[in-house]
Symmetry: C2
Subunit: 117 residues, 2 copies
DNA sequence: ACCCAGATTCGACATGTGTCTATCTTGACA
DNA sequence: TGTCAAGATAGACACATGTCGAATCTGGGT
């Protein structure tokens, strides 16, 4: 009801996601945003995500992060969920697959939770 | 493995939650943190939460925020989930029940998503 | 005392989700 | 070409979750 004009310019990576403090959410915005929170709403996925997010070079091989207490297929399943939610990206190099946090994601989610400023 | 001593002093509101960029999470930390994300991981709940978080006086009556596309008992159910997750508090005044964002919650969650800096 | 409106709880039900074992795919290397 | 290891996929299954209608609870008026 208020913002017109300079909207599309600012957010290059994440196409969404106003702060929750900014006002009511549209159904579609809520869907997208909730999808991201939901992806981090499982302990195993959150640990995997943290393992990637805190990796030395910003990326981590699956083999280095899969020690989270579940079987290898389950790890793969959760990593897929995180990919589908747009939180992680993956790249195969040789025998290994490397995951990294999708660009802009941490900022986007932090923005959703930022006070109205 | 590293922090000893001055733990209990610092965090008065949220008893948890290091940044995901800070390193691997313990199973219990992951459980607590994921619980909060999970609570926001449903579109209806996220809309309710946003309605409360953006309310004028920091609080909102259920009757003012329940226009999120589901039945009234379902609204109540989701508000309960948000309460149980520690994200909202509620107080009855007369006929109405008012909800507000639990103190420190937005900061705590934003911290979890903050870059290591 | 009665009733009414706001809000929660209850019971039921369909759908979604996390987990596993087994199998398949992909690339490296002998 | 054959084999091995890293990961992904498939199928199955128990359990959690979102939703509703009906019943219940809680205060305020009349």
């Amino acid at each position: 009801m208020s913002n017109l004009g300079l909207v599309a310019i600012s957010a290059p990576t994440a196409p969404c996601c106003p702060p929750v403090t900014a006002g009511a959410l549209t159904a579609t915005d809520a869907e997208v945003m909730a999808g991201m929170f939901k992806a981090l709403g499982d302990p195993v996925r959150l640990r995997l995500f943290a393992n990637v997010a805190s990796a030395d070079d910003g990326e981590a091989c699956v083999c280095d992060i899969q020690d989270v207490g579940v079987s290898q297929p389950t790890v793969s399943h959760h990593l897929k969920k995180l990919r589908e939610a747009g939180l992680l990206t993956s790249e195969r190099r040789g025998s290994w697959v490397y995951y990294r946090v999708a660009p802009g994601v941490l900022d986007a989610m932090a923005t959703m939770l930022s006070p109205t400023r």
